[in-house]
Symmetry: C2
Subunit: 474 residues, 2 copies
C-alpha cells in the first residue's frame, strides 16, 4: 500500500543529501523498477508523489528532474561545548517541560518528544490491551519475570535483525520505557564522579540521570549531518578518564541526523581502543525516513561493550512505558539496577505489544508514521522558513519528528518560552539539551502531528515573538 | 456485608494481644453492640464466626468465652545484627527469587510477596482497565504529568486520611510501584557511602537499592511484636552519622508486627533530635487485620522529614505497577529521581485506579482481603505447627500475608531451597532479608492464597525436608 511512499522517501532523501541536484535528471522509471524490484506503476506513483511535494518535475518524453531548489534555511552550526567534564544543570527548565499533562494544561506543547498517537494503525494494539485487561490471572495482574515477558523479548529480538543485530531474546531485558534502560545502563557502568562523553546537543533525560547519580558530562562537538566529532572524541579519550560514551546515532535527538555507518564503526574502534562502554540510544532508529532502517552501533559490537537502549514510546505510544535494553556484558549489573529501580515491568502492556508485533501490525504502522513524519517535516521547515526571521538556521531531520532551530547568538529561548505563555504555547529551550546550559539561542519543535491551522498559527506566533525579541535585544 | 468480620477480627486481635485470655468471659452481645454502634445480630454473627474459627466458645446463658489456647509455636527471637554499617550482599539469592514468572516456571513460589488476585471484588478494576484501553487519546497513550494523574492523587490523598494523614494531593507523587518510591526516596536523601539504619530482618528491595547506590545498611535489632529497638536506634544515632531510617512499621515485612503508636512517636522524636529523615514503607498498612487501620509515622510528622512510600501492589495487584510517595520536604529531589529513573508513570492503570477508588470499590475489596488473609494466616500457622519440627518458631502477623519461620541456628534455608527444587517449591530464604546475610536459619512463607490441598501438601513437603536436613546436620 505504501511501497511507493517508501520509494519516494528514498529518492527525496537522496535529493536532500545532494546526490541529485536541482535540474538533474532523476533515474528512469524502468531503472528504478529494476533496482528496487517494484512494478513500473509503483515507481510512477512515487514520482507523482514527489511531484505533489514539489521535489520532482516531469518533462515530456524526458522523464523526471529535480525541481529548482526551494529556499531552505541554513544548517545549524557545530556546537562548541566546554571540552571539559561538567556537572549537569538545567533541572528547573526540564521540570517546566514535564510538569504539564496535555489534558489539563491547555498548553500547546510544541517542544515535547511526543509522537502522533492518532493513527488507525494503532487500533489493534488498543484492542489487545482492552481484551487482555479482562484476564484476571497472574499473567496480567502479578509480578512477571524481572527480565520481562518472554513472548515480547522474542519479538524485540526479531525486530533488532532489521538494524543488523543478532541478539537472542535471553540477552534482552524489558524496561519501564527507554528512560529506565538509559538510567540503568549508566548506573551499571559508572560510579559517582565518573565522566561520560555525550553528543551535544544531547537528550536531557540522560544528562539529568548523570546529574542524579553525581556523574559528569563531557559534551563533544557534534556535526548536524554526521554526528559526534570523532577527532574531538579521540582527544577527549586521551585526556580524560572517560567511562562511557552516550549518544543517539540514528535520527538523533534533537538534531535529526543519522551518523554514517563508517563513523559508527570508527566510534566503536575508539571505544575498544580506550576500553570504554557505549550507551546507544536507538529510540528513534525505526523512524528513519529511508528504508531499510539504519544500522545500530550495537550491530558492529563483538565484545558486548555496547548497551543498546530503546522503547516503543516514539514508534507506538509513550503511555505504554515499555522499553528494552540489550546490555551486552553488563546484563547482571543492569538487572540489579532494574530491580532496585522499579522491580518488574507491568505485564499488561508487554503482553499487548507481543500480540501486536506477532500479528504483524507493527511494520504497517511504522511505514505510515515514517511517511507522515517525512511530510510534516517538510511542512514544518517550510513554516519556519516563512515565519521566522531570515537568519534562522534549521536541522534536516532524516527521521523522527523533531526540528532543531538555531537563532543568532545572544537570543534567549528560555525567555521566549515565558513570552509564549500568554499564547499557551511552549517550545523546548535549547539549553536543556546541554549539560552546561549552552544552546540557549536554540529551540526544539515537534512536528509529529499532521499539519493543522492551529499548529501553523502557533509556529507563526513563535516566529513573530522571536522576531520581536530579537529586535528588542538587537 | 462484612461488618461482622471486622468486629470478629477486632475481638480476635484483642485475644491475640492477651487482652482476653483463654477461659476469660468475652464482652456481652449488648455491650459490643453499644460500643461499636452495630446491631445485636451483627455481634451475634461475629461471635458465631469466632466460634467457627475455634477462638470463642458459647456457654448457655453465660455468653461467649475465649476458647482454650491451641498449641502455637513460640515467637521468633530478636535478631542480633552486626551493629555496624555493612555493605549489602545477597543479590544472587534475590535474583533467584525474581527470575521466575509464575506462568512459565511451574514453580509453587511460597516465598514471594504476592497478594491473592482472584477476588471478584477486583472485577470493577478490570472493567475500567478494559474500557479505558480503548481510548485512543493523550489521556491514555502519551506522557502524563511527572507527578502523576491528578484524579488518582486526589483519591490517594483521601485514602491517607484513614492512616491519620492530612496530605493535599499536590504533595503526592505517583510512582512505578513502591519500589520506585523507595529507591527515589533513598537517592533523594543519601549520597554514596552514607549510612541508612534499617529494621532487621528488612525488605530486600530497599537493601538492594542501598547496594546499588553504594550506601551502607546498619541493621538494628527488631522485636517480633514491637518492631525496631529504640534504645539500639538511639545508640546507633549517637555513634554513626546516619542519614536516614528506613522501616516498615505497619504489618512489617517479613515479621508481620504493627509497631505501637507510642514507639512510632518516639522514633519520630529521635529522628528530629538527630535530624535524620525517615523512609516509611506503608505498602502493607491497609491490610492490617484490625480496624481502623494503624496510623503511619508520617501522620505524626510536623516538619516534612518522613517520606511515606506505598503502592497498590499488595492491596490490589502488583502487575499494575502503581505506587506513590508523599516526600515531605524532599519533593523536588524525589521528582528529579523519578524523572531520571522512569520519566512519567503509565497513564492507563492510573486512570483505572482513580475510577475504581472514586466509585467506592476499594474499601469492600480491602475488607474481603483482610478477612481472607486473617483466616489463611491461622491456617498457615496451624500447618507449620503440624508439619514442621517442634523447635520451629513463627511470627504472629497482625496484617498482610507473610509468615516468618525461624529454625534452629545452623539451619540453612538457601540449601533448603535447593532441596525443594525437585518438588517445584520455592520459599524465600531468610538471608535475603539481611544486609549481611543473617537469618539463614529463617524463611518467609506467603499465605495469601485461600487454603488448598496443593498448598497444604507443599507446606508438608517443606516441613519434612526441613526435618530431614536438621537430622542430617544435627
Amino acid at each position: 500500500m505504501t511501497l511507493y511512499i517508501d520509494l519516494a522517501t528514498l529518492i527525496s532523501s537522496r535529493i536532500e543529501q545532494g546526490l541529485y541536484r536541482p535540474g538533474d535528471r532523476l533515474p528512469s522509471v524502468r531503472a528504478l523498477s529494476i533496482e528496487h524490484g517494484v512494478s513500473l506503476s509503483t515507481v510512477q506513483q512515487a514520482y507523482r508523489h514527489l511531484e505533489d511535494q514539489g521535489m520532482a518535475t516531469p518533462k515530456p518524453k524526458s522523464g523526471y528532474f529535480v525541481s529548482p531548489q526551494r529556499k531552505v534555511p541554513a544548517l545549524p552550526q557545530v556546537g562548541r561545548p566546554a571540552l571539559r567534564p561538567v556537572e549537569v544543570s538545567q533541572w528547573d527548565q526540564v521540570l517546566d517541560q514535564i510538569s504539564h499533562s496535555p489534558e489539563h494544561s491547555g498548553l500547546l506543547q510544541l517542544g515535547r518528544g511526543r509522537p502522533d498517537i492518532t493513527a488507525p494503525t494503532l487500533k489493534p494494539l488498543l484492542r489487545s490491551l482492552s481484551r487482555l485487561s479482562r484476564r484476571q490471572d497472574a499473567s496480567v495482574l502479578t509480578y512477571g519475570c524481572i527480565r520481562g515477558e518472554q513472548s515480547l523479548r522474542q519479538q524485540i529480538s526479531r525486530l533488532m535483525i532489521d538494524s543488523g543485530c543478532q541478539i537472542p531474546f535471553e540477552e534482552i531485558v524489558v524496561t519501564t520505557g527507554c528512560h529506565e534502560a538509559l538510567s540503568a545502563a549508566i548506573r551499571a557502568i559508572c560510579q559517582p564522579g565518573d565522566i561520560v562523553a555525550v553528543d551535544s546537543p544531547s537528550f536531557h533525560g540522560v544528562m539529568q540521570a548523570l546529574k542524579g547519580f553525581g556523574m559528569k558530562a563531557l559534551e563533544l562537538p557534534t556535526d548536524p549531518i554526521t554526528g559526534i566529532n570523532l577527532d574531538a572524541l579521540k582527544m577527549a579519550l586521551e585526556q580524560w578518564p572517560i567511562k562511557a560514551i552516550q549518544l543517539t546515532p540514528n535520527c538523533n535527538n534533537p538534531l535529526g541526523y543519522i551518523m554514517p555507518d563508517a563513523n559508527k564503526r570508527a566510534l566503536l574502534d575508539l571505544a575498544q581502543r580506550y576500553d570504554v562502554a557505549i550507551i546507544e540510544d536507538d529510540v528513534y532508529g525505526e523512524l528513519a525516513f529511508s528504508y531499510p532502517r539504519p544500522r545500530t552501533i550495537k550491530s558492529y559490537d563483538r565484545d558486548g561493550r555496547v548497551l543498546l537502549c530503546s522503547s516503543f514510546s516514539k514508534t507506538l505510544a509513550p503511555g505504554l512505558r515499555v522499553g528494552w535494553i540489550a546490555p551486552g556484558r553488563y546484563q547482571e549489573q543492569v538487572l540489579h539496577m532494574k530491580y532496585m529501580g522499579t522491580g518488574s515491568t507491568a505485564q499488561l502492556p508487554q503482553l499487548a505489544l507481543a500480540e501486536f508485533l506477532a500479528a504483524g501490525h507493527y511494520e504497517p504502522h511504522l511505514r505510515r508514521m515514517r511517511s507522515q513524519y517525512a511530510q510534516s517535516r517538510d511542512q514544518m521547515i517550510d513554516w519556519v522558513s516563512r515565519y521566522f526571521p531570515s537568519e534562522t538556521r534549521v536541522s534536516r531531520p532524516l527521521g523522527s519528528f523533531m526540528l532543531w532551530v538555531e537563532l543568532p547568538t545572544g537570543f534567549d529561548s528560555v525567555y521566549l518560552n515565558q513570552a509564549l505563555l500568554e499564547h499557551k504555547i511552549q517550545i523546548a529551550p535549547g539549553s536543556i539539551f546541554s549539560a552546561a546550559g549552552k544552546y540557549r539561542n536554540c529551540l526544539r519543535i515537534n512536528y509529529a502531528s499532521k499539519a493543522t491551522d492551529e499548529i501553523e498559527n502557533a509556529v507563526r506566533i513563535v516566529g513573530e515573538t522571536v522576531a520581536r525579541l530579537l529586535n528588542e535585544t538587537g
